[in-house]
């Protein structure tokens, strides 16, 4: 089996090399069959790595300790679920997961673009295969997951107990999906630059992948935070640790890209920015992977002894140099086709949002790398702590939330100050109301948290107003009942309203972060004994009795520990019973024989099992560190070590059982950490809302599934975007974002621009030009008047007159690949 694994990796490397050569040749020569071969190489890579993944998982499930990866991270006592997850807890296995996910996502994007963007996609194929080859190369030459030993060990080390937590099953694949998806926009951006095709088309193609990368990365980060809060005994979810920061960086630049690409789609602006952001995002994603593996920065996650620093550094250097060269050498074709009309427009808000996001990324980048920066500048490595990060990130986060409320209510191109003010009245009222309620409730300390609550109320008010107005416009036209109209509104413009829902989720999440970090009560008890009680915030916590028991191995929730020692805590508020918490600590077996035949059974790493009573308003959180080192308990283990041989772990367990009974009879005082954190739940709820909004924005509209893209279509795309702008303009007028005069002026400009595009389309009619829908309206005299835009062109072919002002934009707005509808039906 190991041999098969080696063969798979070897073949994968060859496939990568072959694919790169044929793709580049295909792109340069324009010969489609070579590009096709390159794409098929990606599919082949995906198949080979899938076989590799399956082989390794079989080894994990079957406890094949001949594999080093299995022996080092799994054992017979590790439950099945965690044996499966153990694959990615080893260096080699996680590289395989990375490469496999990369190949799968690359296959998907190349399959979906197989009929478009031939040249750009061919270069992108080569770049993606380059990444694939890099990771496969690392496995082949540095960390082969199929390395075996002889003789075969009888038992493995076991999965680290800290990782035996359900979210650890999905956290790494989510995060890695995010990281690998980040390389796809990078590959296409580079492809577009090399091919000098930097119009809107490549952006339309990779938009969904950029969104998916953002979504997966975000969810991966959040799952990690939730694991930290509920599994690690420190009661926090974010520590500004280097590796955490490393995952946040590409997420921030990715967020910026998702916003700025809309400006390029609509206005042809910010092209330099729009190629730089995906390049930066991809490089930051690779850098995140690098940091974990090189141990270059002190982090709670990164490890010395990892040897992959140099190859990663070379890759990052190559990517950086390549990106800079490409952007600089192509700067002429990256010029904007428009300029900012007004600082009071949605473009300007997006631009500002981009600057804040990139600024935020810079702050975090600087703080994360500060130890290395200061070492380089002063010769003395030094680090900045969480207070430094907070000082900059909190104000920037406030601005972001505020902007997320302003953006949606401002029209594209230009808005009048009066109109903007009128649209902001309701959000501002929501913020002021929140402020009043908070002050009335006596919450006046922590101004930054209060500012965040008000900003969030502002953002939520703005989205609520958008939904309400949109619904009203739709109702006015269709006469549907309000809920039906609302659903129809959202369903038909998933991209826009998905985005708004994401804004809602982020606002909710930030409220949770602000509340839980500013209004938390923590009590740390060094020696808490049964019968005693203590206060945490408004709650009283009584230590009722200790618990101690051997962990039943047939318990489906068990994680493979030997002994579980904990406490029963009764929580009351003003004398009323609230809940009972059962924090405990799990003791695991270790492989160290020096601990003795009994001692080693519980000598492994103890892992907290946190007691949490979660609710919408607050989480009560308790962790215990029991004392097993009291003279009496120690004595029991020493006697056991002397009398029981290593060959009888069953008898050893009897001793442990006796120890548990002794602990219950005379419980020594234990250490506790107790917390009451308000609104923690809002963080996870906000995350779920973001996830839902992201999925909505990703999902294709019902009609789009039927459409097939058969040829590159940048002009049709431009026409479609222009039509979308026109429809949005109608909606902006209907929802009161635009004054009548501004509407008239912009409408005339847009229609003229649309006619321009149609005139350009006409001289080179598409293959099936006989299709009447594509021909210009013969009734329109402007059509023959080439180059001379017709200011009052009333009928633009293919732009359906809107029966309800909102509806029809959606089907097409949905996704630009939909362009060909009119050409094909």
């Amino acid at each position: 089996m190991a041999l098969l694994g080696h063969v798979c990796l070897g073949l994968a490397l060859i496939v990568c090399a072959y694919g790169i050569v044929v793709s580049v040749y295909g792109a340069r020569s324009g010969r489609a069959e070579f590009s096709l071969a390159g794409r098929r190489s990606v599919y082949a890579l995906a198949s080979l790595l899938t076989v590799g993944m399956v082989l390794l998982e079989i080894a994990f499930v079957g406890d094949d300790f001949a594999f080093n990866a299995v022996a080092d991270t799994s054992s017979r006592t590790t439950p099945l679920l965690y044996r499966l997850a153990a694959l990615w807890s080893s260096q080699e296995g996680s590289l395989l997961l990375w490469a496999w996910l990369l190949s799968m996502w690359s296959s998907l994007v190349l399959f979906l673009t197989r009929k478009r963007l031939q040249e750009v996609a061919s270069y992108a194929t080569a770049i993606l295969l380059g990444f694939g080859g890099f990771f496969v190369g690392l496995m082949v030459f540095y960390a082969n997951p199929f390395t075996t030993t002889n003789p075969v060990p009888a038992e493995g080390v076991g999965l680290d107990p800290l990782l035996r937590f359900p979210t650890m099953m999905i956290h790494p694949p989510m995060l890695y999906s995010g990281y690998t998806l980040c390389t796809i926009p990078l590959a296409f951006a580079m492809g577009a630059l090399i091919a000098r095709k930097v119009d809107g088309e490549w952006i339309a193609v990779i938009r969904r992948f950029a969104l998916a990368a953002w979504l997966f990365l975000g969810m991966g980060i959040l799952l990690g935070a939730s694991w930290s809060f509920s599994e690690l005994g420190w009661g926090g979810y974010w520590a500004w640790d280097a590796v955490e920061n490393a995952s946040l960086l590409p997420w921030l630049t990715g967020t910026a890209f998702l916003h700025s690409l809309m400006i390029q789609e609509r206005r042809g602006m910010l092209k330099v920015w729009n190629v730089s952001l995906p390049l930066a995002t991809g490089i930051l994603a690779i850098m995140g992977t690098f940091m974990v593996r090189s141990g270059i920065l002190d982090s709670i996650h990164a490890f010395g002894g990892a040897t992959l620093g140099v190859p990663f550094l070379l890759l990052i250097a190559a990517l950086l140099a390549g990106s800079i060269y490409l952007v600089v050498s192509r700067r002429a074709i990256l010029a904007s086709t428009h300029h900012l009309d007004s600082l009071l427009s949605r473009e300007a808000i997006f631009l500002f949002n981009n600057l804040v996001l990139v600024g935020l990324a810079f702050v975090i980048f600087w703080g994360t790398w500060f130890p290395k920066i200061s070492e380089a500048l002063t010769g003395q490595s030094a680090s900045v702590g969480p207070p430094w990060f907070d000082r900059y990130t909190v104000p920037l986060a406030l601005i972001l939330v505020l902007l997320s409320g302003i953006g949606p209510v401002i029209a594209w191109r230009r808005a009048t100050p009066r109109g903007v003010l009128r649209n902001l009245l309701f959000p501002i009222a929501a913020a002021l109301l929140t402020l009043t309620v908070l002050i009335a409730a006596g919450i006046t300390q922590k101004p930054l948290a209060i500012a965040m609550f008000c900003c969030a109320a502002f953002a939520l008010g703005s989205v609520a107003q958008e939904l309400w107005r949109g619904t009203r416009v739709r109702r006015g036209a269709s006469g549907e009942a309000p809920p039906v109209a609302l659903l129809a509104l959202i369903r038909r413009n998933r991209r826009r309203y998905g985005g708004y829902i994401v804004h809602v989720g982020m606002a909710v999440l930030f409220v949770g972060v602000a509340a839980s970090s500013s209004f938390q009560h923590v009590t740390q008890l060094r020696a808490f004994s049964p019968g005693q009680s203590t206060r945490v915030g408004a709650y009283t916590i009584h230590y009722i009795r200790p618990t101690a028991a051997l962990t039943p191995h047939d318990d489906p929730t068990h994680t493979g520990s030997t002994l579980n020692v904990g406490a029963v805590l009764r929580v009351t508020k003003d004398g009323h019973y609230v809940t009972t918490l059962r924090p405990s600590e799990d003791f695991y077996e270790s492989q160290e024989e020096s601990q003795g035949s009994v001692g080693h059974l519980i000598g492994g790493q103890p892992v907290s099992s946190v007691g949490i009573e979660a609710s919408l308003t607050r989480d009560i959180w308790a962790a215990i560190a029991p004392e097993l080192e009291s003279p009496k308990l120690k004595h029991i283990i020493e006697v056991g070590n002397k009398t029981i041989p290593f060959s009888r772990p069953d008898e050893g367990l009897f001793v442990i059982d006796f120890l548990a009974h002794e602990y219950l009879k005379h419980p020594p005082p234990a250490q506790f950490r107790l917390e009451v954190s308000p609104l923690i739940m809002w963080i996870w709820l906000g995350g779920l809302i973001v996830f839902a909004g992201g999925l909505l924005a990703l999902s294709p509209s019902p009609g789009a599934l039927r459409r097939r893209i058969t040829r590159p279509a940048s002009l049709e795309l431009a026409r479609e975007v222009k039509y979308r702008e026109l429809r949005d303009l109608e909606l902006d007028l209907a929802t009161g974002k635009l004054s009548r005069e501004d509407y008239e002026a912009t409408n005339a400009t847009l229609r003229a621009e649309a006619m321009d595009i149609l005139n350009q389309l006409e001289p080179e009619p598409p293959a099936d030009a006989s299709d009447p829908t594509d021909a210009l309206d013969p009734a329109n005299p402007g059509s023959s008047d080439s180059g001379r835009p017709n200011g009052r062109a009333r009928s633009l072919p293919g732009l359906p007159e809107q029966e309800d002002g909102v509806s029809d934009e959606q089907d097409r707005e949905e996704d630009s690949p939909a362009v060909e509808v009119a050409l094909h039906e």
């Binding site: 709670i300 996650h301 600057l355 207070p387």
Partner: protein, 139 residues
């Protein structure tokens, strides 16, 4: 003002704002940081009243509790001769153990180094600790 000129002005304003912010950022990062030292460096250089970030390995047999205070010594990763005695009160993370690599912020107080409350972090063993061959044999 013509539009091109206006754009230039905007650009200059934006760039200077960014420059100003970046300067503040860089200045405060040098000010607010605490030097990261290894135990042997700390023993040589530490001045009382300054915070240092200490990274090293917990010396075997050095851990003991004294009331609510945890005492342990931290030595360099490679050679464990220079050990820094640390007195720490605060949350002790789960993976804390003799022989594990830790990071803690300390201040010199006489002969001992007082750990800042809740600053102790243990390097997460979740990833890729390359076990020496001898340990593997035991497995």
């Amino acid at each position: 003002m013509n539009p091109a000129r206006k754009r230039t002005v905007r650009l200059v304003v934006a760039l200077s704002a960014a420059l100003l912010l970046a300067t503040a950022l860089i200045y405060t990062s040098f000010n607010a940081s605490s030097p990261a030292l290894t135990p042997s460096q700390l023993l040589r250089e530490a001045q009382p009243g300054r915070s240092y970030q200490l990274t090293g390995t917990v010396v075997k047999g050095s851990v003991h509790h004294d009331g609510g205070v945890l005492h342990f010594s931290v030595a360099d990763r490679a050679n464990g001769t220079d050990a820094v005695p640390v007195a720490y009160a605060g949350i002790v993370p789960d993976p804390f153990k003799e022989g594990r690599e830790i990071i803690v912020t300390v201040q010199k107080q006489g002969a001992v180094y007082a750990g800042e409350q809740n600053s102790l972090i243990t390097k997460c063993p979740s990833k890729y600790t390359v076990a020496p061959p001898s340990e593997k044999q035991n497995a």
